[in-house]
Homo-oligomer: 242 residues x 2
Amino acid sequence: MTAHASASQTARQRARAELTREIKHEARRQLASRGAQGLSLRAVARELGMVSSALYRYFPSRDDLLTALIIDAYDALGDAAEAAAGDAAEADGRGRWRALCTAIRAWALAHPHEYALIYGSPVPGYQAPQATIASAVRVARALGGILAGAGAGTGVGTGTGGAPPWPAPPLPEVLAGQTGIVADAIAPGTPAPVIARGLIAWTQLFGMISFELFGQLVGTLDPADEFFGYAVEQMASFIGLP
Amino acid sequence: MTAHASASQTARQRARAELTREIKHEARRQLASRGAQGLSLRAVARELGMVSSALYRYFPSRDDLLTALIIDAYDALGDAAEAAAGDAAEADGRGRWRALCTAIRAWALAHPHEYALIYGSPVPGYQAPQATIASAVRVARALGGILAGAGAGTGVGTGTGGAPPWPAPPLPEVLAGQTGIVADAIAPGTPAPVIARGLIAWTQLFGMISFELFGQLVGTLDPADEFFGYAVEQMASFIGLP
DNA sequence: TGTACATCAGTGAACGCGCGTTCACTGATGTAC
DNA sequence: TGTACATCAGTGAACGCGCGTTCACTGATGTAC
């Protein structure tokens, strides 16, 4: 492979990468306006000024395009989450939790259809491949960092510092095993009860965001800013963040 | 209107009601196997052995059929919730909460697509009409009954009996107003902080169920029975149920 | 009880639409000698 | 540097599909006198 050959090769590859990006960009636009089921290869091609069959040079099928969008969505949310959880000082668990929650909600509100794509009801007939998992776990790891900090540095479990506001009952056997697996994946060494409470807070967070986004709060808690802020603080105390 | 006329009229009406039920039943079957977007008037008609245009005698459009299914789903869940919350003794707030949560989860697991229809991502292009609200609020009222019992009978807010395990910070102004509206709708007279914590637990419950149903727990907390049970107890304490 | 009329359920054909995917092709870009 | 060949991107036509909805119609059921 000569230098010249390699240069022209990357030129072609660069064009390919560029168009791949444009296709995903346009697909994301359609996702935002018509939802996942409204995503049509023909419409994407039309908008890009090419013929629909040309897209098959880039994605072997509609499902593969959808998979790419899902991975991108997880990564975008992962970026936002990591940036937010990293912003606040290491020791300030509550601040990091607050920043993480706020960033996740902000991303969800800004990209409702992408949020629905990854946390909403599954697209019927579509089976998410293994490839999405690596990106999906990034958001959870941002939580893990906070839980690990809380558990390791502040005496959670020994009753001092950031201990939770009331004692947690011991975990039943299966759950203890499961939280162990979660701990290994996102917060090694963190005590099981902290993980369990973290996961409860985690489901609360996403439940609240989904309710807001999917219209369950209209007419009652909408706009939900204050409710969100209040819940975040309550859950921080619940987890035992100082 | 003679007795005979009225009898034959009801005979016709009965046939109509019967077929309406059959249409919805078949539509629900398709919903369960192919999801909301897979619901097709033509397929329903085919399965019922009639021609697709005949359905328009019963539902003016596909969206109206979908609306009927949504209302039925809310009502079915409402039935289950009311039965569960009413089962346990009035005074046993925690028992009623446990029964309510368990019933909602059981219904959701038994009817995943109907759950997704009402609590999942909205169907693009479909706008739920006002008519669904009356049925939707029934489930929330089952929660309200429990919160009202907790708030009124056990001294929550005065620090005795079923008081929450740690003091709740005062609510910001907008949120206080919103919880007031919620209280008026589902649990009149209940203090705002109890309502707020109830709603936090509520979003946790549905977040957890959605995560389980939509595949977010696969490989970690799945099967989720123990996690669910643990979270329900934790949230009961969080709300302040004795 | 019998007859003339109105209401209603269901039919069958048609309209117009958009979709995912395949395939043989042309022409440009890159590669090897 | 120049030429012969291979790779690849994009074209255009076509296949086969299912959908929601409309409309004029037939025949059965119900109603009024």
